[in-house]
């Protein structure tokens, strides 16, 4: 088990990268400009790519270097570029109808992190791992998940929703690197490709939404009820 005998430096590096990713998701939560979301997302993906490489180095999982490279290329460069292109085509640069002000949503995000902490302590206690990096990884994974759902709930632009979905997946990715670095490589690579397909689909759909519904805000989607 990687977590149990970990070099102190490795442990601090893991924590640093995980917490930096969590902070970046708060940056996304606190901004109303779509480009800032996007930059924060790209930076978060770089953190996760870095984390993969560090885990690969200290844990002795050479295949994680490949995952790190692919994460950096796909999630760090290609996906942000594709979304950037969609933003430019749509000419939407910010959320117009805020349900909750950014400041309030950051407070909500903080509460969600506390909830995630409580849950992960409970689970980690079962294995006596409360004070290790595993508990932290679990916390960050669950909180990014919850923050992603919060973003899906309070943001209505199509782009913000896509990014919210990607934050959900980022959380899982981050947690996977620390908790189960040995998870079969095949799965990780396929999930990376899968995401690329998802975003391609979204690109097509956003285009359609614009031509058929005439808007890209999900507030306009109200034809089908009951």
């Amino acid at each position: 088990m990687l977590i149990q005998h970990l070099h102190p430096l490795a442990s601090s590096l893991f924590s640093l990268l995980a917490i930096a990713s969590l902070l970046l998701s708060f940056v996304m939560l606190g901004s109303r400009w779509l480009r800032k979301y996007l930059y924060a997302f790209a930076a978060e993906s770089w953190m996760i790519a870095g984390l993969s490489a560090v885990v690969g180095f200290y844990g002795g999982f050479p295949e994680l270097y490949l995952v790190a490279l692919l994460t950096f290329l796909f999630r760090g460069l290609l996906l942000p570029y594709l979304i950037w292109r969609i933003i430019r085509r749509l000419q939407v640069d910010r959320e117009f109808h805020l349900i909750i002000q950014p400041s309030t949503s950051m407070v909500l995000g903080g509460l969600l992190v506390m909830f995630a902490l409580a849950v992960s302590f409970h689970v980690a206690a079962a294995y006596h791992l409360e004070l290790t990096v595993a508990a932290l990884a679990l916390t960050v994974m669950l909180s990014m998940k919850l923050i992603g759902f919060l973003m899906l709930a309070i943001r209505h632009e199509a782009i913000s929703q896509i990014l919210g979905l990607l934050v959900l997946e980022n959380g899982i990715f981050l947690g996977t690197q620390i908790l189960v670095p040995g998870m079969p490589l095949l799965i990780e690579i396929v999930i990376l490709f899968d995401l690329l397909i998802v975003v391609a689909c979204f690109g097509v759909l956003v285009g359609y939404l614009l031509t058929r519904v005439g808007a890209t805000s999900s507030l306009e989607l109200r034809k089908l009820v009951g």
């Binding site: 088990m1 998940k145 992603g148 079969p184 359609y208 034809k223």
Partner: protein
């Protein structure tokens, strides 16, 4: 033999995709998809008879064929075949010949992914297969390119992708739990996970199961995660609705069953079962409420799908041989019967040129044959005898008569009666109301009516005659899956 059949079954639709994309002709792709579905049907039908006691693994252990798989794949292949026959007649009415090859390529892709999903032996790859079904079917839902279908497609992919990411989280937690037992790197298959489960901490196991339940439950359409289902089912073309309801929901449900089996294998615990019973009962409630006051004819069928997935969830939640066997039997009955209902709904939509129940009148007068088949289907789908759903629902109720879950049986019975009344009332209005506008099309092609006959006869036979072989087969699934050592 089993291996060859499995390969051919999945390869046929894949070949059809390639054919459709290369030839780009409406009529040829129609034929290709039809042939592919017929081949898949012929390969899947003998599988349950061949599997026997053991699990067969193929393709370096990535493909698993056991009783559970064979049963679900058979349901899927039946629906795929019937829907392909129906699609030939239905899609010609849409006047979209130029794009029809795309439709059939996607449709064959949808068939291939739903057939392949339950075959996956690796838990992670199963998740990927389910995600692929979403990607393919989104474009089928959006095929008509109306504002409503775009809205439905958007909601579908958003809600289901977000939901299914929870299933991925649950899967990762399962893997983490297993890594305390099996070491950091191991091949996560259903059976290795089940073997490791007794040594995984129950807290972690319960958390992971609940996440997986919510995740795949979104895909199954269990309330309150059902928001995408009525929209996607009502806005796609009718053959797509049939596949979504009859094939896709089962494909995701089998994942929930397998995870439940893993958790139960670790030791009896009430939380997973209770969670399934609660979700099932709530789905029935939501289905009943929306069926009673429904105005769209295909949305009516969609809410009925939520209701029936709730019944299946109740069956798994009640557990025991009776509950599990009843739930799997209900899957087959529901697949057949819901195909019949969506075929009928599609036919009436084309005949009257509307999706609204309020504008469909005088069906009994204008369409005696199709109308009769559809009405018989409506009687069957609400769980009235002598059709298959009556016996499967009764079996599930018998399974639930135990101290912990008796309340759920009473709730289920009451809601099924409400649904029966609500459904029949809609049909009464559609059949005997005075016709305001006569239908715009009076003749329905044999492609559109034939599959209705096939489905109805099958449902009737399953209600009247339940061979002991089928019963033993389903009981064997229950014993191999939940609660009993292998």
């Amino acid at each position: 033999m089993i291996g060859a059949l499995t390969y051919v079954m999945v390869a046929a639709p894949v070949a059809a995709i390639v054919g459709c994309l290369v030839l780009r002709s409406a009529r040829l792709s129609e034929a290709l998809n039809l042939v592919a579905s017929a081949v898949a049907f012929c390969c899947a039908l003998p599988l349950p008879f061949l599997v026997g006691d053991r699990e067969s693994l193929f393709w370096s252990d990535y493909i698993l064929v056991d009783r559970t798989t064979a049963w679900v794949v058979m349901c899927t292949a039946i629906v795929y075949f019937l829907a392909s026959v129906y699609a030939v007649g239905y899609m010609r009415l849409l006047n979209e010949d130029a794009r029809l090859f795309q439709f059939y390529a996607l449709f064959a892709g949808f068939g291939a992914t739903t057939l392949a999903g339950p075959l996956m032996n690796s838990v992670g790859i199963y998740w990927i297969a389910i995600e692929l079904t979403t990607l393919v079917s989104t474009f089928l839902v959006a095929f008509e390119r109306e504002a409503e279908s775009m809205e439905a497609a958007w909601k579908y992919i958003m809600v289901v992708s977000a939901g299914i990411s929870l299933a991925l989280l649950g899967t990762v937690l399962f893997y983490w739990g297993g890594s305390f037992v099996l070491g950091p790197t191991y091949n996560m298959t259903w059976s290795t996970l089940a073997a490791a489960a007794p040594q995984i901490n129950p807290v972690l196991l319960t958390l992971a199961f609940l996440l997986v339940l919510v995740g795949y439950g979104t895909k199954v359409g269990l309330a309150p995660m059902h928001a995408w289902l009525p929209d996607a089912h009502s806005e796609g073309p009718a053959p797509v609705s049939v596949m979504l309801s009859g094939a896709l929901l089962n494909t995701a449900m089998v994942g929930i069953f397998r995870f439940l089996a893993i958790v139960e294998f670790a030791g009896p615990s009430l939380v997973p079962q209770l969670a399934l019973v609660l979700l099932g009962a709530f789905s029935l409630l939501v289905g009943a409420l929306f069926i009673v006051r429904q105005r769209g004819v295909k949305r009516l069928m969609a809410y009925s799908s939520i209701e029936h997935m709730g019944v299946v969830a109740l069956g798994f939640g009640f557990g025991g041989p009776l509950g599990i066997a009843g739930a799997f039997y209900h899957m087959l009955n529901h697949s057949l019967n819901k195909s019949l209902m969506f075929f009928g709904a599609g036919n009436m939509m084309r005949a009257y040129g509307t999706k609204r129940i309020g504008q469909i009148r005088g069906v009994a007068e204008y369409f005696p044959t199709t109308g009769g088949l559809w009405l018989a289907g409506a009687v069957a789908i609400t769980g009235a005898p002598p059709f298959g759903l009556f016996s499967s629902e009764l079996t599930i109720m018998r399974a639930g008569l135990q101290p912990a879950f008796a309340w759920a049986v009473y709730v289920m019975a009451a809601l099924l009666i409400v649904i029966f009344v609500g459904f029949m009332n809609h049909f009464r209005v559609m059949y005997y109301g005075s016709p305001a506008d006569p239908p715009i099309a009076r003749r329905l092609s044999a492609w559109c009516v034939g599959p209705m006959w096939a489905a109805l006869i099958a449902v009737l036979v399953l209600g009247l005659w339940w061979p002991s072989g089928v019963w033993n087969y389903l009981i064997a699934i229950a014993h191999s899956g939940v609660g009993a050592p292998r």
